[in-house]
Amino acid sequence: MASGDTAPDFDAPSFDALSVGDVVAERSFELSRDSLVRYAGASGDFNPIHYRDDVAASVGLPGVIAHGMLTMGLAVQPVVDWAGDPALVADYQVRFTRPVVVDPSEGATVTVSAKVGQLDAEARVARIDLTTTFGGETVLGKAQVRVRFA
């Protein structure tokens, strides 16, 4: 990436200024049933448990749930915004531990907090650990984003 091509309203974070434990980003997301339909169309995942209450109930779910991949996809966004470029994400992994139930009228609020988990000074890669919660409980386990620095 060419140096000097910095966006005017954005200061890229400096790897050397990071410490393990720093919270680098936090954001809340308001999910509605519309969000699920939009994600179904964008991703091609039309499993009806993500938009039909009767189907969700028939497989024992407490209600229509968000696509795990939607939760994974939005949870990395605060890190992308902090890093300044989606291209800096070198690796991203999660474990799906609890469903996000999206109420038809109230929706669901998912909160993401991103913290520095590990710093590899030689590779200049920061491991950012995500805490993603819904209704006071974490919904993603071992959610780690590796961000490459220049």
Binding site: D5, M72, V89, V145
Partner: protein, 146 residues
């Protein structure tokens, strides 16, 4: 589930052409706000050839490989009992609009856990030159009778 699936490699999928509007549509759906996902000029100013897809976009390409696995006649996977356990993307480079991507799935492990089975499927995604772009790895849990 059939334990002999372990190590099986599937034929490469039909090439997937990454469109700009698809990148924008996917980016909106995952609440992305970075202009590099939406604005070609912003992407080019940051040194990229075109729009950069969000980190989880490769799932769109990976999906057809998982469909191959679920449709495998001797796999013994009942789709209605499949739960997504883990997901990982490991990048050599990001996905750009204009990429033509081909995915090849390999079953890296099959494990039993009581009545349940766990299958780990690795989809290696390469560009039109055959160069590695990203590997998408899913672990699927197939629930058995308790």
């Amino acid at each position: 589930m059939n334990p002999e699936l372990q190590g099986r490699e599937f034929p490469p999928t039909r090439p997937y052409l990454v469109g700009r509007e698809k990148v924008r549509e996917f980016a909106r759906a995952v609440f992305a706000t970075d202009p590099i996902n939406f604005d070609v000029d912003a992407a080019r100013a940051a040194g990229h050839p075109d729009l950069v897809a969000p980190p989880t976009f490769p799932v769109v390409v990976q999906e057809s490989t998982l469909a191959q696995l679920l449709a495998e006649p001797d796999a013994g996977i009942d789709f209605s009992r499949v739960v997504h356990g883990d997901q990982r993307f490991t990048f050599s480079r990001p996905v750009f609009a204009g990429d033509e991507l081909t995915a090849t799935l390999r079953v890296s492990s099959v494990k039993s856990l009581g009545p349940h089975s766990m299958v780990t499927a690795e989809s290696t995604i390469v560009d039109a030159d055959g160069a590695h772009v990203v590997t998408a790895t899913s672990t699927l849990v197939v629930r058995g009778d308790e």
